[in-house]
């Protein structure tokens, strides 16, 4: 039980927040997406998404780049290598916690 609690305490809090977890999941699955797509898919407000992305960018998990598609300027977000590794570690740890919980429940 104590080990499990320690495992939970070691979860990456930056990713653990639901909105940021949703952003990481989306970007992990699609490679790159622009601000508008993330906003619509995640159901975020502009300020909310902007704040979460800023935090993820600050941690080096997400790269934000200004690009042009045709003549349309886009703010494109993608996971960095560090972000992918952190997300993998987080998901493995989380799954470990959930699995051990399931085994104890039986």
């Amino acid at each position: 039980m104590t080990t499990r609690i320690q495992e939970i305490a070691q979860l990456d809090r930056l990713i653990h927040e639901p909105a940021r977890l949703a952003i990481m999941l989306m970007l992990g699955g699609i490679g790159e997406a622009d601000f508008l797509y993330l906003q619509r898919e995640g159901g975020f407000t502009q300020g909310n998404l902007s704040g979460h992305l800023a935090k993820l960018e600050e941690a080096g998990y997400v790269a934000i780049e200004k690009k042009f598609k045709g003549k349309v300027p886009l703010t494109v977000c993608s996971l960095t290598g560090k972000g992918k590794a952190a997300f993998c570690e987080y998901s493995a740890r989380m799954l470990g916690v959930l699995q051990s919980n399931g085994q104890q429940g039986r």
Binding site: G29, I30, E32, D34, F35, Y37, G70, L74
Partner: protein
């Protein structure tokens, strides 16, 4: 177009569906078929005794052009119409990438994070683009064993092929548009255009059907997603 209740669940599958939700791939493919099929038809009507099969070469040129420039053209259209409305997402990979690297453990909190491996732009090419083009080319060079029944049967087969192949994909065709395509075969038979022109109607009809299907999808998309500026004006 699927409704919201059966939206694909994972981000990768949603991105795959997103690529087709504005109908541009279908419109472009349909237009290419109509233009190049029409050129072949015009050539055959004006010089019926020309050597070889120019209609065949026109259609083959159309396929090559679509293969070469189709993706950039769709990208250009999307950048002007789709991305300002609903945003940009990287289209599913032509060659599926490995899912997120898993350095220490083979398990992860998997919500199918990788791009879908079997529903991407490549499969639009194999299931629809090549399916339609090769079918039309096959009909043009065919031996015509059933004569009058040949084109209607080919259209019926094409409708079944498109419906069945795409049934479980991110862009299924509904049954009733497929039925319309199937019924154009007997309609062509009633018109009785003659053995020279009849096989050439297949790319024209298939192209018009694809373009109409794409246009309906696009109309629905534009209705559901007005340009941000227009939406703000409505709210004001």
């Amino acid at each position: 177009m699927k409704n919201d209740s059966d939206k694909p669940a994972s981000p990768g599958r949603r991105a795959a569906a997103y690529w087709f939700k504005d109908g541009f791939p279908d419109i472009l493919l349909g237009t290419t078929l109509v233009v190049f099929g029409g050129l072949g038809l015009a050539w055959c009507i004006h010089s019926p005794k020309s050597a070889g099969r120019p209609d065949f070469f026109f259609l083959a040129a159309g396929q090559l052009l679509f293969y070469w420039k189709g993706r950039p053209a769709v990208d250009l259209l999307k950048s002007r119409i789709t991305y300002p409305r609903t945003g940009y997402v990287q289209p599913p990979q032509d060659v599926p990438e490995r899912p997120l690297a898993q350095p220490s453990t083979p398990i992860s909190l998997s919500l199918e994070p990788g791009p879908p491996t079997d529903e991407n732009v490549t499969h639009f090419n194999t299931r629809t683009v090549y399916g339609v083009f090769y079918w039309c080319l096959l009909i043009l060079v065919g031996l015509n064993p059933w004569r009058h029944w040949y084109t209607p049967l080919a259209m019926l087969a094409l409708a079944i092929l498109l419906y069945a192949w795409n049934r479980r994909s991110e862009r299924p065709y509904r049954w009733w548009p497929a039925l319309i395509l199937a019924f154009t075969g007997p309609a062509v038979m009633l018109v009785n255009t003659g053995p020279l022109v009849e096989p050439l109607l297949l790319p024209l009809v298939a192209g018009a059907w694809l373009a109409a299907h794409g246009a309906c999808t696009l109309a629905g998309y534009l209705r559901a997603n007005p340009y941000p500026q227009a939406a703000q004006e409505v709210r004001a």
